[in-house]
Amino acid sequence: MYIRIRVQEIGFSLDEAFQELRRASNSVGAVCTFTGLVRDFNDDAEVTGLFLEHYPEMTEKQLARIVDDACQRWQLMGVSVIHRIGALLPGDEIVLVAVAAGHRGEAFSACEFIMDYLKTQATFWKKEVAADGERWLTMRESDITAADRWQS
């Protein structure tokens, strides 16, 4: 079982994460990846940048727990999570979740599960820098709903 969790300022390579995962086991048949990017708008204010803060001692612990939960639920062969912090520009990658499994159903479900819980449980905060000033983002109701559906 290959697990790698990184919180970093520098950008990341989807390809590098994918190449690591495909080699996690020679019975990997499915790799699902999710990449979150900085969009150039959010609720109509023109976003010029994003600042990402986190709670260093806690973030990695929370991410490890979420990944561990996913490994309990599905038969996985590899998981890679990368989350950037600091100053980001529109188009920059923010987060990567990549999951390797034997079959596609497990890879898709685990990847979406990790993203949904990362959104509601990992201690990151986004401050949006827009033409009309800065503002801390607030959690979306839809993100809470997305995480809740895994509890049924």
Partner: protein, 83 residues
């Protein structure tokens, strides 16, 4: 002694990344908040009353009645918005 830390909008509104508090009779998060709110005239009172807060003791999310003991790190922060 308890280490209190703030993050994101809370850190900015308190204009401080945190402070230390002598423990004595403080045994829960709720009791700690009451102590922090005491010095009125400081922004603490209004911010604690107004913001939607989450609390973690030693990097574990807890309720406001979560226990606190000497040496703990208590973090206050708004709901997370990463990803």
């Amino acid at each position: 002694m308890i280490k209190v830390v703030f993050f994101a909008s809370l850190r900015e509104r308190f204009q401080s990344p945190g402070l230390t508090v002598e423990i004595d009779q403080i045994a829960s998060v709720a009791a700690l908040i009451e102590v922090l709110m005491l010095p009125d005239g400081t922004p603490f009172g209004s911010i604690f009353a107004e913001e939607k807060l989450m609390v973690a003791v030693n990097q574990e999310v807890v309720d406001f009645d979560g226990a606190i003991t000497e040496g703990d790190e208590v973090a206050f922060f708004p709901p997370v918005t990463g990803g």
